[in-house]
Symmetry: D2
């Protein structure tokens, strides 16, 4: 994978208002995998101060999408066709780490999974969500 | 359903940082159904300016959760066990309207669906996502 | 939709060994919808004599697939990309009725839902499963 | 885990008409995991002679359910609350091998995954489906 493909993905990530809102960072990227990390901010919480289900979803979905994009032709974009999340524990702690992974990369569909962990202040991690879904390549949208 | 049950649900919704961030409003609430409406703000967009998949997810998941809560005993809280989203079209327009509905309310599990529509400036609406999931009642968290 | 498209779908259904095993019948077919009915036979049961989850799945998945195929170009075949089932009640009674419906028909992907009901001996029906998934058109396989 | 817990699970498996129909065998069982193997019989095929999606589903769902049951209290039974399958390739070959695994075992809900492989006549294997779902413990049904 040429390094400009990676650079395109990082530029795409940087353009996402939602990722900026969550102060998310793309902390790892390689062929078929992607990691995104974000603090659990009050602006992304549910009624009891834990991270909203949609926060874990946003990070896991985005990580899975970019994981799929690493294996598509350079210059393509990626879109979620469908994805499912099973929540295992409340999103409590200082930050969430989402890791997306490609199960099967296809011409028309890529099947992906993601795991989301919550990290406590002292550094221990707990799996809080697993996801399984389908990403599709799309033509880039002209600006 | 006593009106203080509705009031509790509205108060729960008002405590959600994520819903405030998205400027979401609880626009309808009744036995077994709930509607949430939010503008498509730049802070909730993906790289091409459409609403992020997680925006539709956040609204649909929250609407489905409160739909389930309307049929649970007063004083309980609700948590998403799992939910799946199929995305049908990009979230473009001025606002999203998510409607959650209970398919089956049970003592341990409630099965729910949600539909998310995008509304254009001139008022036309387009279905952009469908969701199907499971909500569980939980004991309220002491403040 | 020309009647030979319907005839092709009925012929495709008749070739399915699994549908024959379950003694399933294609009981309704129209643009964007399909209904399949089958008895709850001991050969399709789980350990307590109710229909196995895979029986409802088989009928609902097949009904949803043919519902999608009715809206595709004649001569295509259809394949399940992914599908999810939520089980609401045990599959007890004399027969199951599965109804598939197209939510959105696309060139590359069709989003579908299915409902499965169990019918008691005296004729009453109970919803036992809901499904949501994605069908893809494929080129016919040469015999 | 006492050996009579294993024996109960094997006895439960043996009572399933659906597993007998598919000539499925419980080929491995341990704490939190279960493997089921079955030939791809014509009676379980779709219209082109590949295994029906419901065959892979049946094996993966059952493997995941018994994987969950190994971690529940002896004497309980297990039921699928919901499960999703992503199909990666046609179920062609001589047999399918489904492996269920527990992601999180809880008092009320267990989150599970399953992988289904197809084995060719010469012994090579190919991943054809991945599944993710929720199992619930239930009280045994009196005979």
């Amino acid at each position: 994978m040429p390094s400009d493909h990676f650079a395109q993905i990082r530029a795409s990530f940087a353009r996402q208002g939602m990722m900026q809102t969550f102060e998310a960072q793309l902390t790892a990227l390689g062929p078929g995998h992607c990691e995104i990390t974000a603090p659990i901010l009050p602006l992304a919480c549910q009624q009891h101060g834990a991270g909203h289900a949609a926060l874990g979803f946003a990070l896991g979905d985005t990580a899975a999408g970019y994981a799929a994009l690493t294996l598509m032709a350079p210059g393509r974009e990626v879109m979620t066709a469908e994805i499912k999340i099973n929540l295992l524990a409340p999103a409590v702690g200082t930050r969430l780490i989402a890791r997306g992974r490609v199960v099967k990369s296809g011409r028309r569909l890529s099947v992906v999974t993601a795991e989301v962990e919550a990290e406590a202040a002292e550094g221990s991690r707990r799996l809080i969500a697993v996801m399984q879904g389908t990403m599709v390549p799309v033509d880039p949208v002209p600006d």
